[in-house]
């Protein structure tokens, strides 16, 4: 199924190449969430990454088949001992403002990136950045950091003009000046971001004159816009509508994998979830298979690890079976035979059917005597609420998703489970903390050997599974749709639609 998805994504990409591309035109892509920023140092979400990747390029990239490829760095070399990474840069590249791309530009960007709190998780071990010559840069590490190469493909590590960095100072970049095939044009918050062709692009020049990313939060509205031909592509088709949409003339439905895992995290430092029996009971109480089949219409899979199967380090576990009797027994053993009350926070409209899934979980927990109060918030307020320090945290459990876009378990687990990543600093918003987990996460970072590293993650995931730090739900797949007149669009597992090589058959 996954393979099929990837093949499909490639097929859509290839179909564009079969005909002679036509030049010009503006392509419109409708997505659900306005970017929170366009500053590589500030963005945290896939929608923002999707826009930015057209404008500002990274040193390395990950293609739609999840292979690491050169981009602004033509090649790279990791030292035997894992303590230095040499990057050989592409020559003859210019930023949109005319500034040449060179070693100094890379250093300026990475230094700026290192100051950002969130970006810190990508570069914890980089001590110095040396310029060897105009087109060679060396990152020196104090100890090996195994995931560094995959981290450099992360779209948040996009490079902007050093001139812009100097001008912007500590402020936020709202109009990124990168090296990409498109230049930033205009951003009307909550409405759209528009980018225009970069005629001086170093690689294959884009066919389109412009691309507009239209912000349309309502799933139903996006669907109508596509069906009436007002937009060329939409993201996140409601799964129940997909079968019908497949029959609509001039529309193509694209199903492909995503790297996103959806989970419900328990407040690990607060009763009742300090008791492992309660955490396990919740896992037994919910029928994940029914959620995936019925609410998601089969667009996704039941989680059998805290990261999804495509990611390096994935180790398959047995999902907790749906067993309400077992759940009741565990709750009774933990002293909650008479039931308990829980506050459950969840987003609405951020993930596929998120509110409906929260309701289903509420209903399942009701069956085992847990009274759940559902509380929903607007996305930005929700993230802010979940970024409070331990003393101010107000939830019992919450629903969130994590896209492991580097395809490496370190990015999928370290920020969410390591004690040093507790909110408000990092993304461990449920205050998970266990010495075994911390030790394994740290060890896996400094272990460069492929098999040894894989074994460490297998141990780690088995432990996390038993410890039930989350109510493990599912991993998502994506359903996008596009007009058949839009050729050469690439639908990417990172939840991007890429228009780099797209053209309009008008």
């Amino acid at each position: 199924m996954r393979k099929l998805g990837i093949l499909l994504a490639v097929a859509v990409g290839l179909m564009g190449l079969a005909q002679t591309p036509k030049l010009g035109g503006e392509l419109v892509i409708a997505f659900g969430t306005d970017p929170e920023s366009l500053d590589p140092n500030k963005i945290t979400s896939a929608p923002a990454g999707m826009v930015l990747t057209h404008v500002a390029e990274t040193l390395l990239t990950m293609d739609e088949n999840l292979e690491i490829r050169p981009l602004l760095a033509q090649s790279w070399k990791l030292a035997e001992d894992g303590r230095s990474l040499t990057l050989y840069l592409r020559k003859g590249v210019k930023f949109h403002d005319g500034t040449p791309f060179n070693a100094q530009a890379v250093k300026d960007n990475l230094e700026r990136f290192r100051k950002a709190t969130y970006a810190f998780l990508l570069f914890p071990r980089v001590q110095t950045i040396d310029i060897v010559d105009e087109y060679t840069v060396v990152l020196n590490l104090d100890m090996p950091f195994a995931p560094i190469v995959s981290h450099l493909t992360h779209n948040f590590v996009a490079l902007v003009s050093p001139k812009q960095i100097a001008e912007v100072g500590d402020k936020e970049i709202m109009d990124p000046v990168g090296t990409g095939p498109f230049k930033f044009d205009k951003w009307v918050r909550g409405e759209y971001v528009r980018i225009v062709k970069n005629p001086d692009y170093w690689g294959d020049k884009p066919y389109l004159d412009a691309v507009k990313f239209l912000v349309v939060p309502s799933d139903a509205t996006r669907l109508v816009l596509l069906e009436t031909g007002q937009v060329h592509a939409i993201m996140r088709v409601p799964p129940l509508e997909a079968p019908r949409l497949r029959g609509v003339k001039g529309v193509e439905v694209v199903k492909l994998p995503s790297v996103r895992t959806i989970y419900i995290a328990f407040h690990y430092q607060r009763a009742p979830f300090t008791d492992v029996r309660v955490r396990q009971a919740f896992n037994y109480a919910v029928d994940k298979e029914a959620i995936v089949q019925t609410i998601l219409g089969g667009v996704g899979g039941v989680s059998d690890a805290p990261i999804m199967p495509l990611i390096f380090g994935y180790a398959k576990q047995n999902p907790y079976p749906y067993d309400p009797e077992m759940a009741k027994k565990l709750l009774a053993d933990a002293g909650y035979a008479k039931g308990l009350k829980i506050k459950f926070y969840h987003p609405t409209g951020r993930y596929m059917m998120d509110a409906a899934i929260a309701q289903a979980v509420q209903a399942y927990l009701r069956d085992v005597g847990v009274e759940v109060e559902l509380i929903t918030m607007e996305w930005a307020a929700y993230l802010a609420f979940l970024r409070k320090p331990l003393e101010e945290s107000g939830f019992d459990m919450f629903m969130l998703g994590w896209g492991c876009v580097t395809l490496d378990a370190d990015y999928g687990l370290f920020p969410l489970f390591h004690t040093s990543e507790w909110a408000p600093k990092g993304s461990n918003r449920s205050f998970y903390s266990h010495p075994t987990v911390d030790a394994l996460l740290e060890q896996a970072r400094v272990t460069v050997n492929y098999e040894a590293r894989k074994a460490l993650y297998a141990d780690l995931i088995a432990f996390l599974w038993q410890d039930a730090g989350w109510l493990f739900l599912h991993y998502e797949e994506q359903i996008n749709a596009q007009r058949t007149t839009a050729k050469g669009l690439i639908h990417h597992p990172r939840e991007y639609i890429l228009a780099h090589k797209a053209w309009l058959d008008r």
Partner: protein, 277 residues
């Protein structure tokens, strides 16, 4: 009076509809075939059938049972929010109309400001400040009803205070409060009853609107507006239209019932009011 009401055929229809909903609300646990909160995902989005007369929703809950229990929520919201409007608006309107002058000036300008906002918008603002939830939604709708009561009662009082019986009472040395309570209010009851019946219809509609937007009753409470919203938002409107249609029919019927009853009452209680409310 009762005779005039009975003659009004549409009013009878309205009364019957309202009565039906009242019965449904009162005896919900006996009428509903199933537990309105019990979900079984594997039975989700089933179309109407003998097992589920109105089908099931996205979580496999029985739609008929939810609509029957939803009657309780909608009527409760209607009664409480109309009650708030009545309790606050009537005395304010009476005092404003009776004393006139500066009191009248100030209250009426405040009412003007409140009326400048569309009612539902005012309610949304109140909920946004207080936070979503059933009780806050009632309060919000109630607050947005206040200006209407103030206006209607003031209008009636303005007319009544000039009448001979008020003058007579005043001549005997009765206090203003005594006159309002003993002589004026009894004569205001007709418009208040009519207005309240009509406002019940609005309250049900607004409560459903807030529920639809996710600002009213919170899941899993069965509330018509929220149910309708779920049918639409979860992409079921084409796949399983019954999830959206039946709560919508319930809302429409309830609103129709109260409106017809209100119209009939207006004609029956005071023919002079015709066309004024």
């Amino acid at each position: 009076m009762l005779k005039r009401l009975v003659k009004h055929k549409l009013a009878i229809l309205g009364a019957l509809i309202v009565l039906a909903f009242l019965v449904a609300a009162a005896f919900a646990p006996y009428l509903a075939p199933r537990d309105p909160l019990k979900s079984s995902l594997r039975e989700a989005r089933k179309p109407p059938s003998p097992t589920y007369p109105l089908g099931t929703d996205h979580l496999g809950r029985d739609l008929l049972s939810r609509i029957i229990f939803g009657t309780r929520v909608s009527l409760l919201m209607a009664v409480i929010s109309v009650g708030i409007g009545l309790a606050v608006g009537t005395p304010v309107g009476a005092l404003s109309g009776f004393y006139g002058g500066a009191t009248d000036m100030v209250t009426q300008r405040i009412v003007d400001i409140m009326m400048a906002f569309p009612g539902i918008l005012l309610a949304i603002v109140v909920v946004a400040v207080l936070g979503p939830g059933l009780w806050n939604a009632m309060l919000a709708v109630g607050i947005s009803f206040v200006p209407t009561y103030v206006r209607v009662v003031r209008g009636a009082v303005l007319e009544l205070r000039e009448r001979e019986f008020v003058e007579a009472s005043r001549a005997t040395g009765a206090s203003g409060l005594h006159i309002i309570v003993r002589h004026i209010m009894p004569n205001c009851i007709a418009p208040i009853i009519v207005l309240s019946t009509l406002q019940m219809a609005s309250a049900i509609l607004w409560a459903a609107g807030l529920g639809y937007l996710g600002l009213g009753a919170q899941p899993p409470t069965p509330e018509w507006g929220a149910m309708l919203g779920e049918g639409y938002n979860y992409g079921m409107i084409r796949v399983a239209p019954h999830v959206t249609i039946f709560p919508g029919v319930a809302i429409a019927l309830a609103v129709l019932g109260f409106n017809l009853l209100g119209d009939g009452l207006r004609d029956a209680l005071d023919p002079r009011l015709r066309g004024r409310l």
